[in-house]
């Protein structure tokens, strides 16, 4: 192959890496081998050969097309669309973040798990909204510990187990050889248990502001607890948070969440957000068989009817739906908010989430949740 083509493709590979595609040397080698077999004068064939060897995900096709146009067709490139941030809201979160991270050192000294019985107990029942920054720092690690427990489902795979429910035929045959075909020993296999998928949808709109920080920590720890956890934030629209929460450091994750959810602190459109989730992710069966946890006060600003409709769709696909409403912690609370009332028929468990004790309760429910009896 002509050197010029090789150089061209290698450089193009670099261009793709710069816009964020994972293009390793193996892929570039495939592209070159592929180009060797097709007609280079046909633009369409060159395009598909490069695309099929260099791109591995549908959501990267757009980026690839843009780069291809710019590089091979010399078209002007449009910069990728960036969502506009809301400076005022960002500022607010920024402040609380620096609050939380200053004084980090002295906090690391004492283990929050050893607060002492009385201090611990007091904090457990204190509403997140009423905590001082210092108290909040103390409960951080407790939140992480709570979020670690996951509901299990039986995998269809089996392994040897003395009290299994199915005979281990391979071993049984071998053993029977020695006994003339009589299965004297009966080895068994049992199903393995694996974590059930967990999907968390967290309302971060203005009315939830006080609880958002604690819940984001909860989300972060949940995502860190293993595979099969997906987290989303919603306000006026939905945003997938799993990648942002994938980092080790909760504070950094918080910061990234803030960037990702541009409508932090503004109004809520629960129905529209649920619809977006169902349309985009439900179709890809993300919610099928999953335990779905919705964290929201149920204040739908727009269309309670839509909330009901989308909750029905969600509940059909999910294994179980848990709604966590921090306002429910208030003894005077009645679930009268329009959205909340519309959602209630589709909820398996309705919990609070306003303090540590209630998060513990949530974890216990998640660990032992049963599917609802009737839809």
């Amino acid at each position: 192959m002509a050197d010029a083509v090789v150089r061209h493709v290698v450089t193009f590979g670099r261009v793709l890496r710069e816009v964020g595609l994972e293009v390793g040397p193996g892929r570039v080698a495939d592209a070159l081998r592929g180009l060797d077999t097709v007609d280079l004068t046909r633009q369409e064939d060159v395009y598909f050969t490069l695309r099929q060897t260099l791109v591995a995900r549908q959501d990267e096709l757009d980026l690839f097309d843009r780069a291809f146009r710019a590089w091979f067709l010399r078209a002007p490139v449009l910069p990728p669309v960036r969502t506009t941030d809301r400076p005022a809201e960002q500022q607010k979160i920024g402040e609380s973040l620096s609050d939380a991270s200053s004084g980090e050192q002295d906090e690391e000294m004492g283990d929050p798990l050893e607060l002492g019985a009385s201090g611990h107990e007091l904090l457990r029942d204190k509403d997140f909204a009423e905590m001082t920054p210092d108290e909040y720092r103390r409960v951080r690690r407790l939140i992480a510990a709570i979020a670690g427990s996951r509901p299990l489902r039986a995998s269809r795979r089996r392994r040897s187990h003395p009290r299994g429910d199915r005979l281990d035929m391979r071993r049984l045959i071998r053993a029977s050889l020695r006994t003339g075909g009589d299965p004297v020993d009966r080895p068994y296999r049992a199903r393995k248990e694996v974590p059930r998928k967990l999907v968390v949808l967290c309302d971060v709109s203005g009315s939830m502001d006080a609880y958002a920080r604690a819940l984001v920590l909860f989300l972060h720890a949940a995502v860190g607890s293993g595979p099969g956890v997906e987290a989303f934030a919603f306000g006026t629209r939905l945003s997938r948070l799993t990648p942002e929460l994938g980092t080790r450091d909760p504070e950094a994750a918080l910061e990234k969440c803030t960037e990702a959810v541009t409508d932090w602190g503004s109004g809520t459109r629960i129905g529209a957000s649920l619809k977006e989730f169902n349309d985009l992710y439900g179709k890809r069966a993300l919610s099928r068989g999953a335990v779905v946890v919705i964290v929201s006060d149920g204040w739908e600003r727009q269309d309670p009817e839509l909330v009901g409709r989308e909750m029905a769709r969600l509940a059909r696909a999910a294994y179980a739906v848990v709604w966590v409403n921090p306002l429910k912690g208030n003894p005077d609370y009645q679930p009268l908010a329009g959205g909340m009332r519309a959602a209630l028929p589709y909820i398996d468990r309705f919990l609070t989430g306003h303090n540590l004790r209630s998060l513990e309760e949530l974890a216990a429910v998640l660990a032992g949740i049963e599917r609802r009896h009737a839809a």
């Binding site: 994972e22 390793g24 193996g26 892929r27 495939d30 081998r33 592929g34 077999t37 097709v38 007609d39 369409e44 064939d45 598909f48 050969t49 695309r51 099929q52 060897t53 791109v55 591995a56 995900r57 549908q58 096709l61 995998s155 269809r156 795979r157 035929m169 391979r170 049984l172 045959i173 071998r174 029977s176 050889l177 003339g180 075909g181 299965p183 595979p227 349309d279 179709k283 890809r284 069966a285 993300l286 099928r288 769709r313």
Partner: protein, 294 residues
């Protein structure tokens, strides 16, 4: 190595198998053969992913071996399994002490499942691994091993190597993200809905004797449906089924009444059917007929 020297040659062979791929898909299939790499096909349900593999088998004169994936799919159902009842009977029937373990775990008692069949075949094979996203991740890891070495080890029999590499097509409906290592191993092609002209061609080739007008109007109508916000937008398979139904009813063109009666073969969800009732439906029919007339 591929029997086709150019993409055009492969296209001709696919068309002879009643399959009309667009240029992107032919390129993908061609590259998969030429580079001897698995091809991962993704796309909405009903765009013809499985069909592509079947047609490739016909076009290349290969045997199609299909592994349908599902949650919990394991080695016993994908690769091989020992025939335990026969083994037990054999031990019983034989004189005590005369059956050796080697005999018992020999080829005679082996049940061969799709992956082993594909690896251990003397004829050319197209191996279709359908809906890989439904299998669990442990199986995906195992599959990755098979696809990199094209060999399978059975403890009792030793290692079986492919004498000729099968062409491998994997399909996914994207119910979950596949493992990066698997994606690195494969070529990737995203199949979108076909252009309207191509869809009309596909309908005509699949339903011999269908009127040009009916094919065009049905394709145009389905296209309108895809533009709506539906839970499950119809694929090419639905267009074919539906046109077949209309054709069987003796229709030469579509009208609101017959569409209403047969909507169930295009839309599979009650909400979707309800969403396009009444005025919406009449409007869609008008638009589709106008598009088709052009």
């Amino acid at each position: 190595m591929s029997a086709f020297r150019t993409i055009d040659e492969l296209e001709v062979a696919l068309q002879a198998a009643d399959y009309l791929p667009d240029r992107g898909l032919s390129t993908a299939l061609f590259l998969s053969l030429a580079l001897e790499k698995p091809l991962l096909l993704e796309g909405e349900a009903g765009v013809g992913k499985t069909e592509a593999a079947k047609s490739l088998a016909v076009a290349t004169g290969s045997r199609l071996i299909r592994l349908q994936c599902y949650e919990g799919l394991d080695v016993a159902h994908a690769v091989y399994e020992w025939n335990y009842p026969r083994q037990l009977l054999h031990i019983r029937a034989a004189q005590e002490g005369t059956v050796s373990e080697d005999e018992l775990f020999g080829p005679e008692f082996l049940i061969r499942r799709p992956l082993l069949e594909a690896i251990d075949s003397d004829e050319p094979v197209v191996l279709l691994i359908d809906e890989i996203d439904r299998a669990d991740e442990e199986f995906e890891a195992f599959l990755l091993e098979v696809l990199s070495d094209f060999q399978i080890t059975i403890p009792e029999l030793g290692t079986i190597r492919a004498r000729r590499k099968p062409a491998v097509i994997l399909t996914s409906n994207r119910t979950r993200e596949l493992h990066d290592a698997l994606k690195r191993r494969a070529l990737f092609h995203w199949i979108g809905h076909p252009s309207i002209d191509r869809e009309i061609e596909i309908v005509k080739i699949r339903i011999p004797g269908v009127s040009e007008r009916l094919a065009a109007e049905a394709a145009a109508f389905v296209r309108e449906l895809r533009g709506l916000d539906l839970a499950k937008p119809p694929g090419v398979a639905e267009t074919i089924d539906w046109t077949m139904a209309l054709n069987a009813l003796g229709k030469q063109e579509i009208d609101a009444d017959v569409v209403e009666q047969t909507l169930g073969s295009v839309l599979k969800y009650r909400e979707d059917i309800e969403a396009v009732r009444d005025e919406t439906l009449a409007q869609l029919v008008d638009t589709a007929r106008a598009t088709a007339a052009r």
